[in-house]
């Protein structure tokens, strides 16, 4: 994937201001290189340890692809914000809150599902905006500000769901949404015909009832690709992308050269809120319910994916493609350990060790390649 991006500077190298660099060299110095290498390592690992367990059969693949896809959605937002020099710890709580913003109006107030979803997106963007404004105005670390949002949003999710619905799990959304285009947009399955064809051709397995083992690509995966692609293009091909790097690298210097740092940061907080809401909407539409405990700890998974993907915790460096591969690594490791049949009590130990290995490998490769000290 890095290939197609990097060929562009090489093509323009007739400009005397640009240093000539071999394609290989410029490929190696990209922030996502380590994550790609880590992903390959992880795949090799599971190809050996989880062989014959169904991990690489069609439904097994779709399982970890879905998990990785979900994570990609919030990791993209987290990566952009991190490159812009800030954190958002309220992503997980926002997932729970956005879910309730969709489910409660739909189930209890008879609001059409499309309007509920629109309401949830508006509400989330507003909260993201407030997060951003508070961080920018007070100059407090975003770590603290969004930690407060983490608690406030989680608390509001519980309190409001009890207040309006008298329960913390609101189900039955499907009764209102099944025929709606919103359901199709967030929980549909794409390329059904293609998968039926694959099953008929014997490429993937079939169920005893004749259906293909995988019925289609879940919408959440397509959203993941779309969001990562847009994020990548904005970051690397637009003025706003340059502003993100500048704001995260040195906010004062950026301000001095005329970058609207406050606006950039506030926008990025709104982007993470938007991503969290996409995640929540896909989940609510797929499962037909919202619960007050949805999304617990997902903020850390998003940040971890971004960091595995080569984003610096200090800001100013990183890539969306990297975060994409970071999410892939995390998703594959998370589900892959289950495929190996490792004892559950040790699950989190393995998860931690594998992530540490992937990150170490990643950073070692990157240092070797870029010649950093």
């Amino acid at each position: 994937m890095a290939n197609s991006e990097t060929s562009v500077p090489a093509a323009r190298s007739s400009d005397e201001r640009l240093r000539r660099q071999s394609i290989l060299r410029s490929m190696l110095s990209r922030p996502e290189l380590g994550a790609v290498a880590g992903a390959i390592l992880v795949f090799i690992f599971f190809a050996v340890t989880a062989r014959g367990t169904g991990m690489f059969a069609a439904d097994g693949v779709m399982n970890w692809v879905t998990v990785a896809g979900q994570l990609t959605i919030i990791a993209t937002g987290a990566a952009l914000l991190m490159i812009g020099g800030e954190f958002d710890l309220s992503v997980g709580s926002m997932i729970g809150f956005a879910g309730m913003m969709i489910a409660i109006p739909t189930v209890y107030f008879g609001v059409p599902i499309a309007l509920s979803v629109l309401f949830a997106f508006c509400g989330a963007l507003l909260i993201g905006f407030l997060n951003g404004v508070i961080v920018v105005r007070t100059r407090l670390p975003s770590f603290i500000v969004t930690l407060a949002s983490l608690y406030i949003l989680r608390g509001m999710t519980i309190a409001l769901s009890i207040l309006f619905a008298n329960r913390t799990i609101v189900s039955g959304v499907k009764n209102f949404a099944d025929d709606s285009f919103v359901s199709w947009l967030f929980a549909g399955k794409a390329f059904r015909g293609f998968f039926i064809w694959l099953a008929e051709a014997g490429v993937i397995g079939t169920l005893p009832n004749g259906q293909p083992a995988v019925q289609g690509i879940p919408a959440v995966v397509l959203w993941a690709f779309a969001i990562a692609a847009v994020g990548h293009i904005v970051l690397t091909r637009t003025r706003f992308g340059n502003w993100i790097f500048a704001s995260g690298g040195d906010a004062n210097a950026a301000r001095n050269v005329g970058v609207p740092v406050a606006r950039v940061k506030i926008t990025l907080f709104m982007v993470t809120a938007f991503c969290a809401t996409v995640y929540a909407t896909c989940q609510v539409m797929e499962f037909g319910s919202a619960a007050a405990d949805r999304g617990v700890l997902k903020e850390f998974e998003a940040i971890i994916a971004a960091v595995i993907g080569g984003c610096l915790l200090t800001g100013g460096y990183g890539s969306v493609i990297g975060a994409f591969f970071g999410a892939l690594i995390f998703g594959v490791v998370q589900m892959g350990i289950l495929f190996t049949g490792a004892p559950n009590d040790w699950f989190q130990v393995f998860l931690g060790l594998m992530l540490l290995t992937a990150v170490l490998f990643n950073s070692v490769i990157r240092r070797r390649a870029t010649g950093e000290r």
């Binding site: 499907k174 797929e286 004892p343 989190q348």
Partner: protein, 317 residues
């Protein structure tokens, strides 16, 4: 760079067999089952079930993998069920923590031809609707009814049901079953005590003062039982009521020993782990399966067996 890659590869050459040696699942001779619970890592109640799974696996010569969403997120649990189905196990045992969320995943596993049993949470109806082989759990209404029958035998005519979780339909069913067994309409015999110990204490106190003819008490768990036990200790009316509670805790055990609490209803979680493994094994080997669902509760813990229960608490009880 080459030496580094070599070093890393060597490290993995060591790590991979280690990982595989503790992952016998894919290579075992016996059947392989996956048990998926909804409980977060921190929920100690499930330790009993984990021990039951270990025993059952040993005795049947099968392997059982216990899986749960680390944070208790049911949406994550759906992914774990999908993952389990992808490994083509000989059977899946799962709770129905949230019917709507898990429906598609469980149905997909069944469509794949994997035998599925449901345990613990969920109802027999939901289990049947999903197409599972059977449900093993404690039906709330019947458990309440069992308690009511016990109370009736002890001469209870007027009762109070202390409900600390009134928003949960299952807890109302417990009170209803108890009332039906006594043949008394539930009506205002059920009080919404809330979860706060002080409030429970005062609400029960007010009820018992206003209804002096009450002679039976049903509490639905430690949250409502413990303040009620304290109240009876404070007023000295330790033997005035036939007091039955759901579930066990240290305070409830002491209450049983002191004769304040007549019995505690135990849903016997051990059986919810042990039985599905044994039954699925026989189903796989000989195609036999009981035709009915299995109720693991209500089992009653009384003064007579509290010693054994306390000794095994947290491990097998």
């Amino acid at each position: 760079m080459a030496s580094l890659v070599k070093k890393l590869l060597t490290a993995f050459a060591v790590a991979v067999p280690v990982m595989m040696s503790i992952a016998p699942a894919a290579h075992a001779d016996g059947e392989r089952f996956v048990f998926v619970s909804h409980a977060p890592d921190t929920d100690s109640w499930w330790n009993v079930i984990k021990n039951a799974l270990k025993n059952a696996a040993k005795e049947t010569g099968t392997t059982v993998e216990y899986r749960n969403p680390p944070t208790g997120d049911i949406a994550d649990m759906a992914r774990i069920i999908e993952q389990s189905a992808a490994t083509n196990p000989d059977g899946i045992i799962t709770t129905i923590a949230d019917f709507d969320v898990l429906k598609a995943s469980i149905e997909q596993a069944i469509a794949k031809g994997i035998p599925v049993m449901t345990v613990n949470s969920g109802t027999a109806d939901q289990s049947k609707q999903l197409g599972a082989l059977m449900h093993i759990g404690q039906p709330e209404y019947d458990a309440g009814k069992g308690a009511g029958a016990r109370a009736k035998a002890a001469g209870v005519t007027n009762f109070v049901c202390v409900n600390h979780y009134i928003t949960n339909a299952a807890s109302v069913e417990r009170c209803q079953g108890y009332a039906d067994a006594l043949g008394v309409p539930l009506g205002d015999h059920m009080i919404d005590s809330s979860q706060d110990p002080t409030q429970v204490y005062n609400k029960v106190k007010a009820y018992l003062t206003a209804h002096a003819d009450t002679n039976g008490i049903l509490t639905l768990g430690p949250n409502s039982a413990e303040p009620t036990i304290k109240l009876l200790r404070d007023t000295g009316e330790t033997s005035k009521y036939n007091f039955i509670t759901f579930d066990l805790s240290a305070d409830i055990s002491q209450g049983i020993k002191d004769g304040i609490v007549e019995s505690a209803i135990d849903q016997q979680p051990y059986l919810q782990g042990y039985l599905p493994v044994v039954l699925l094994t026989q189903y796989k080997r000989y195609g036999v399966m009981p035709a009915n669902n299995i109720n693991t509760g209500p089992g009653f813990v009384t003064k007579d067996n509290i010693g054994l229960v306390e000794k095994l608490a947290g491990e097998y009880r």
